[in-house]
Every structure is written in C-alpha cells, then in structure tokens.
C-alpha cells in the first residue's frame, strides 16, 4: 500500500506531498498506520529520502478525545476510528482538516472552537435540580469531542472568517 500524506513544515511554509510504502498488515486503523510509520527507526519516503516523522495529534486511540481528526481519502474522520484493509488498498491519502489553519503536517489550529465559546459566554452557572426530561439530550450533547469534524463538513462554516 502507498500512504500519501500532505505535509507542511510550519504555519507559514508551503504544503507538499510525501509518499511512503506500507507493507500490508491486515485490517488496522489509520491511527495505527501513522503510529507504525513513525515507529520506524528512520522514516524514508518512496524515493529513499530520509524524512521528519509525521506530526499528528493523538491521545486516546479510541474515539473519545477528538485529537486525530483529519481528512482520510477525501473524508473527514477520526484516524483512530477508520479501519483500512491494508492488504487490499492501493493508496491511502491523508490530509489535515481544510477549514482550520495548518500548524504542522496533520496538526491544525482548532483554538477558534474554544475562543468562540468564550466570546459566547457559554457557561451554565449553578444547577439546582437536574431535569430528567432533558437528561438524554444533555448527555449526548456533553459527549461532544470538539474535534471539529462537524465544522469541516458543514457548508455554512467557512473556516473561522467572520
């Protein structure tokens, strides 16, 4: 399998693509593939050139922390939640989220999410009695990972511009 990754050395650098060989290892997650690439003592691209390890955000590896949101074969998703049949896939294409500015490689700056919450004064105060009717809605809402994937796909969100 070939892994094509859109890389960027810094906020103000130009993006560029790099391709890596990946020997098939059955059905594993994109997060596992990134980990295994970075676990090589030295990482070489398909032309044999030595490269910096791939920078990406990773925390829980189990879809609970929202760190690894990225664009996988054109679809925004959590890398630890997407399984790839590495024996049967020709190309895996990885890019950073497009609606946020790139910090480095697959890491983007999602701080606008927290900044907007602060501007909107989104806090609750003191709750006197929990409302059993609202429990299920609130429980679901409270699970929001702040991963940014909804903003990535939403046609009304233009990427932080007012």
């Amino acid at each position: 399998m070939k892994v094509r990754i859109k890389r960027q050395d810094g906020r103000r650098s130009a993006p560029y693509w790099q391709v890596f060989h990946f020997r098939g290892e059955g059905r594993i997650t994109v997060a596992a593939i990134l980990e295994k690439l970075n676990e090589r003592d030295q990482l070489e691209d398909i032309k044999g050139k030595q490269c910096r390890k791939i920078r990406w955000e990773c925390g829980c590896m189990q879809k609970m922390c929202g760190s690894c949101a990225m664009v996988i074969n054109g679809h925004p998703a959590l890398a630890c939640g997407v399984f790839i049949n590495t024996d049967d896939t020709e190309i895996l294409r990885l890019e950073p989220l497009t609606k946020f500015s790139v910090v480095e490689d697959l890491i983007v700056d999602r701080s606008v999410i927290w900044e907007r919450q602060k501007e909107a004064l989104m806090y609750l105060g003191i709750r006197k009695h929990p409302d059993p009717k609202e429990h299920d809605h609130q429980y679901s809402a409270a699970k929001c990972l702040k991963c940014g994937l909804c903003l990535e796909v939403c046609p009304n969100y233009l990427g932080g511009k007012r």
Binding site: A32, K53, G59, C60, M61, Y139, K143
Partner: protein
C-alpha cells in the same frame, strides 16, 4: 495567592476551580485542551457513600480502600477522602455533571470489584467525559470572570526550584521554540501517570511520566513506584488496548480458558460463585497465570482478553495536603501517590482526582506567598535555552544514526518486561542493567532531528524514572497487592511500608517508610 497548575484533566481542573472559588489567581497550563486529556476515557464511575437501599458508611468505604491498598496508606488521609466524597459529588452535581439517577432523584450506584457495598456513582458509560465537560465549562466561567488564565500549547520543561523551594516552572513552546517561565506562589502538578514508559496501556498517549521523572531529577521524592495496576480484561483494537469493563462480570459474564475442548472457569473453581468479581490485581494475576488464552463469555459470544497496564498507584510523594518535599510544589491526581496503597479500587481514582485537586488548592490558599525572584533563574533559563536552540538547529543526521524512536522502544520493552504482572528478582536486575546501558547513551545527549524537540528531551528523565521503578520493585522483597514476586510470593509485615525513591548525588536511593504512626489497620 497566585497558583500555577500544570495539567488540565479532572485533577488539574478540580484544583483550578477550587482555587478560583477561593479567589486565588490561577494560571492553568497544558499542551492540549481538557477534551484531549486521559480523564475523558474513564468509564466506570466515581465512589462515594450515598443514600441507597443498601446501608453504607464512610467507615466501610475507608476500610475497603485501606484493605485494597494492603494497609500502606495513612488512615487519616483515606478517612478524609471518604468523608469528603459525598460533598465532592454534590460539587460536581451543581457544576452540571449528568449522573444516572433513580426516579426519586437519588444517585444510582453499581458494584466495583473489591468493595463491600455498591457505591460507584456513574453517568452512562462515560463518567470521565461527563465530568470533564461540566468542569471545562466551569473553568470557562472563571476564565471569563478573570480568575483563571489558560495557557494551551506549552510543554513542561522543568520546575524552578532553589533551596528546596519552588518558585514556578519553565515551559517549552514548540512554535516559538522558546522556553517560557511562569512564576507563582505555588505550583500544582496534575500531570497524570507514566503510560508511555510502558508502551501499550489502556490510557492516553500523552501521559509519558516526563514531569514525574524530571521532578525526580530535581530532588522531588517519589513513592510506591512498584505498584502498577493491570486492568484484567482488555482487548486489542487497532493499535490500542481497550478495556472491557468489570461491570460485565457483575452482569454475568464469565472468565475461562480452554483445556482441549473443555472450558475451565478458573476464577469460579478457585474462589467460588463470586470468583469473577474479585479485585483487579487478583483477577489480572490469575489470568496471567492461566496456561492458555483467556476468554470472557456470555450466552452469545466469547472475547479473548489480556491484562494491560491501567493505573499507577505510585508517583510523586506528598503529605496530607498534597505538598511534596519541596515547599510550594504540590502533586495531585494520578501523578501523586496517595490513598491507593498497593492497589486502587475501581471508582476511587476519579474521587481522588477531585479530592486531591481541591485539597491542594486549599493548602495553597492557606500557605505563604513566595518572594519574587526572577533574576535568580535568568542564568539557568539562558543556559537551557541554548540547549534547545542547539536541538532546533540540527536539520539532518551527522553520522551515527541515533534514533529517539529506537531508544523509546527499547525503554518500553525493558519496562514492560521487568514490571510484568508476575515479577522476579533476577529479571528485574537484568532489566536494570539493560536500562543502565540506555541511560549511558542518553547521558551523551544525542539528538534525533527527525522527531520534535520535546520527544528528544523527555527521554533521559523517563529513563531515570524507569530505573527508579525497577529498583523499587527489586527492593520490595515480598508480594503485596499489585506487586507480585515469584521469588517472594508472600506478604511480609516488615514491608508494610511505602517505598520512597530519592535522587541525590547522581544516585537513586530506595528506602522504606511507614505512613501511619499506628499499625495501619482498619478504621474504627
């Protein structure tokens, strides 16, 4: 008072919110937002004595905790925790945590392995995330009101310590490539466990024990490093070990291994009908000793399970108010070692995260301010900045292909092997020798320009922490709770003490110290 809190999981946020409520000035620093911390992964629940159908009491909660910890902890500290637990629940409730409730509004409780009563309060299967969500918006409230200042994107570098007093901490900003000091009257470390030192655990990739290791090198004492909890039932998913909750065992799932075509229900055979619900350390060990793959089954399916590292009972040594041996420096949450002794009860670690955070905030509030001393540290900071600049300037390998990745992998292998569920003196000694060779290499300060500066400078302190852990395990020549030695399989009364690790004169020293003045028995 101005307090610097490092780490914004549940323990860090508990300290931050409490300090803000006490009207202190809070600076909350972390490399990532709270949503990304390990705290969101907690799934079981949080223990407290509450109004239930079954009678319960603080004395029993404390006794269960002390017993599970094999009587290494100070009664007073554990009693304090259990007494305050109901109040902490109410605090969380008012913040908006969505606990599961009965029709009459009382909290629902479930059983957790090793406890005499059902007292684990929960929120669906995502207690950690629910608490983090409620706490983050509470922190936001105090941020808006000017009480908490949040600094995200900074990595801990070192504490600013002089003459056994802490004046703040130094952080690395990977974007500006600068070391940034933050001075305060007190520093609270809420930096979690040392998962990355072992490789695949159930926890977060972000928790690497660097802060604990670095503080150790700076003279902070550590305690009970040999006590590591293995969660009995985990499965491999992707490149991760994922927990299968012990709750399924209280719902009737059973553990077995296959002897030819016949299933051996080993826990039930050895311990009776409640065999599947024994405490985590016991179940994990029994699974490790089975002659074949162990499975969890119910009527419909069978899942292969393996124990995996889950929680660190050991860490930074602290007194009753969570202060370390360095004045003005505190440790809370999983980073600190207190309450759990030789084995942590399911549901207790979340309560201790909240309790320790709030306790430390109070201690800081009632403590003394530090005099301003920025000039004191200027030469040190300049010297360290030069080291960072040298690391940043290397853009390619210069001969001798040093790989930080290979070094970390070696460390993880040594640690997982030496600190396995079933330990042995000789294996531990061999592991120490292997680790010494890594330490020698790291002392020459090699740099791998292909990984980040942080991934370079974290290695040496992590390796030293690993060595201190292996040495603690060697010195504890007995088996107790989560620490099991093949060569010393019984519990010895002379070891009813905590191990203390100290770094002095370039050497690691391990000694044993009794926590309580009394024999450390049950609470009366």
């Amino acid at each position: 008072m101005k307090v610097l809190i490092i780490g914004n999981g549940i323990a860090g946020m508990s300290a931050a919110i409490e300090a803000a409520e006490l009207d202190d000035e809070v600076i909350l620093v972390s490399p990532v937002q709270s949503e990304r911390t390990q705290s969101v992964m907690a799934a079981e629940g949080i223990n407290a004595v509450v109004d239930t159908a079954e009678e319960d009491s603080v004395v029993w909660h404390a006794n269960d905790t002390l017993e599970s910890g094999c009587f290494l902890e100070k009664e007073e500290d554990v009693r304090n925790l259990c007494e305050k637990a109901p109040e902490h629940l109410k605090w969380l409730d008012e913040m908006g945590v969505l606990f599961d409730r009965n029709e009459d509004d009382t909290w629902k409780v479930k059983a957790s392995g090793g406890q005499s009563r059902k007292r684990t309060v929960y929120s669906g299967n995502s207690i950690g995330k629910q608490i983090v969500t409620a706490m983050t918006q509470k922190c936001l409230e105090y941020e808006i009101k000017g009480k908490i200042e949040k600094k995200i994107g900074l990595y801990f570098y070192s504490a600013l310590i002089r003459d056994e007093k802490c004046y703040g901490a130094l952080f690395y900003n990977p974007e500006s490539k600068m070391l940034i000091p933050v001075y305060a009257d007190a520093v609270i470390c809420a930096t979690g466990g040392m998962n990355k030192l072992y490789g695949k655990t159930t926890g977060s990739e972000l928790n690497d024990g660097y802060v604990t290791g670095k503080l150790f090198l700076q003279g902070v004492q550590l305690r009970n490093l040999e006590f590591i909890q293995y969660y009995p039932t985990t499965v491999q998913r992707g490149n991760k070990r994922v927990i299968i909750s012990e709750s399924v065992r209280s719902e009737g799932w059973r553990l077995y291994y296959k002897n030819r075509s016949h299933s051996v229900y080993f826990m039930e055979e050895k311990y009776g009908t409640e065999g599947n619900l024994m405490s985590r350390d016991l179940v994990a060990r029994e699974i490790a000793m089975c002659p074949g793959q162990v499975y969890l089954e119910n009527a419909k399916e069978s899942i292969p399970v393996t124990p995996a590292i889950h929680f660190f009972m050991g860490g930074i040594k602290v007194d009753g108010m969570h202060q370390t041996n360095i004045a003005g420096l505190y440790a809370v949450g999983e980073a600190a070692s207190k309450y759990h002794g030789a084995n942590c009860l399911g549901g207790n670690s979340l309560m201790t995260a909240v309790h320790s955070g709030r306790t430390a905030a109070h201690a800081v509030h009632e403590g003394q301010g530090q005099p301003m001393c920025e000039e004191l540290f200027v030469p040190y900071i300049e010297h360290e900045q030069e080291k960072i600049d040298r690391m940043e300037q290397m853009s390619e390998y210069r001969g001798g292909k040093y790989s930080a990745t290979a070094t970390l992998r070696k460390l993880m292998k040594i640690m997982s092997y030496g600190m396995d569920l079933i330990r042995d003196g000789e294996v531990l000694q061999d592991s120490i020798y292997a680790l010494d060779s890594s330490l020698n290499e790291l002392r020459t300060f090699p740099i791998d320009p292909m990984v980040s500066v942080y991934e370079n400078y974290r290695l040496y302190p992590m390796a030293v922490l690993g060595k201190a852990t292996l040495m603690s395990a060697v010195e504890r020549r007995e088996s107790r709770g989560a620490h099991f030695r093949k060569d010393f399989p019984g519990e010895k009364s002379e070891f009813m003490k905590c191990s203390v690790a100290e770094f002095k004169d370039e050497k690691i020293r391990i000694y044993f110290e009794q926590e309580s003045g009394e024999k450390g028995g049950a609470v009366r």
